[in-house]
């Protein structure tokens, strides 16, 4: 292809990347893709099995496994500088803090609201 103009100026490969760029083998990428499709099928199938309140946790668990595969292999975090992983985990930690505290609050006040509703109803 038309890469000639840039290639002339390109530095030798050893000078270009000293370790932050890991090439993921094609087989690994393909394997991850197939696993992601299989897990998608699994999560659709799991929806039709009645497990009560467990259903939502199974769905979230499968989604988290899929997400981990995408982050570790497609986004290279497994091979990358640990500092990038710290940034990502920080985002997750604050998101969980945000969601967790809000849901705790929702649960905390649920009985009060229920009581108020009962008092208001004629």
């Amino acid at each position: 292809m038309q890469t000639a103009p840039v290639d002339e100026h390109a530095v030798p490969a050893d000078a270009a990347h000293a370790g932050s760029a890991h090439v993921v083998p094609f087989g690994v990428l393909l394997g991850v893709f197939v696993a992601l499709l299989a897990l998608t099928y699994l999560t659709v199938a799991a929806r039709y099995v009645d497990l009560g309140s467990l259903n939502i946790w199974i769905a979230l668990g499968i989604a988290t496994i899929k997400g981990a595969l995408v982050v570790l292999y497609f986004m290279h975090l497994r091979y990358d500088s640990p500092f990038n992983s710290i940034v990502f985990l920080t985002a997750l930690a604050f998101m969980l803090l945000f969601l967790g505290i809000t849901i705790l609050d929702t649960i905390q006040y649920a009985p009060d609201i229920e009581e108020m509703r009962l008092m208001q109803s004629p």
Partner: protein, 279 residues
Amino acid sequence: MTAHATHTSDHADHAEHPPWLAHHFDTPDQQFSSAKLGMWVFLLTEILFFSGLFCAYAVYRRNHPELFVDGHHFLNTILGAINTAVLLLSSFTMAWGVRCAQLGKTRGLMNCLIVTLVCAGVFLGIKYAEYRVKWEHHMVPGQARIAALLGLESPVLHELAPGEPAPRGFHPDHEYMGEKLRHADEEAGVRILSETLYQTQLQERIKRLGTFFGIYFSLTGLHAVHVICGIIAITWLLVRTVKGHFSAAHYNAVDCVGLYWHLVDLIWIYLFPLLYLIH
């Protein structure tokens, strides 16, 4: 820390540095890892941005679980699953494209980017078809106002007179929504005594689902905006690839857009079960 501590080596480095290496970086590797760190920090803000909507989802679902169970019957699981697969494929070809870029395979990178773009287009096409059905069944919160504001034609809900035979489904051209719901309801043990009554009840149900559809459209709409931004970014990569801007030594942009595209996929991985697969 680096080899550029002395004046002489610094000078020598300047003489041979590649044209794409910015002057405020010592080495291509430093430039690459700085760009990547910057991208990860951006993705952090994206995750927190979306978590606001996930929080709204969690609170409303916790308070009104029955509305979410009822609401998900109005979404098309098959289309959602197809879209999940399409987005996973696009993520795979993007990762493959980054690999091609790392190995200096320009042709392969080009092909991967094209497949990724096609997948993104298919995803948006399916999303459009889903939104269209919602619009035709009056499921968009504030639909009459939106229609007036944009000058669009909003299908008028047909108020059924007592005893008037109702059409199957709300809209003669889109019967599957009524059929799918009827099937789900019959499985759940709902006895459909009268067609007219059932149709009226369906319309009442949709009116009660405003919050569910508000969350559905906010989450999937914000995600779709990200897909559109991804299409713009990948098109930019494709143009630069054809112009020969990238090589095995220099592919920062491909790597960073790749990270962004995977995040868009990651968010959909959670959206699909949370919206389409509620038990």
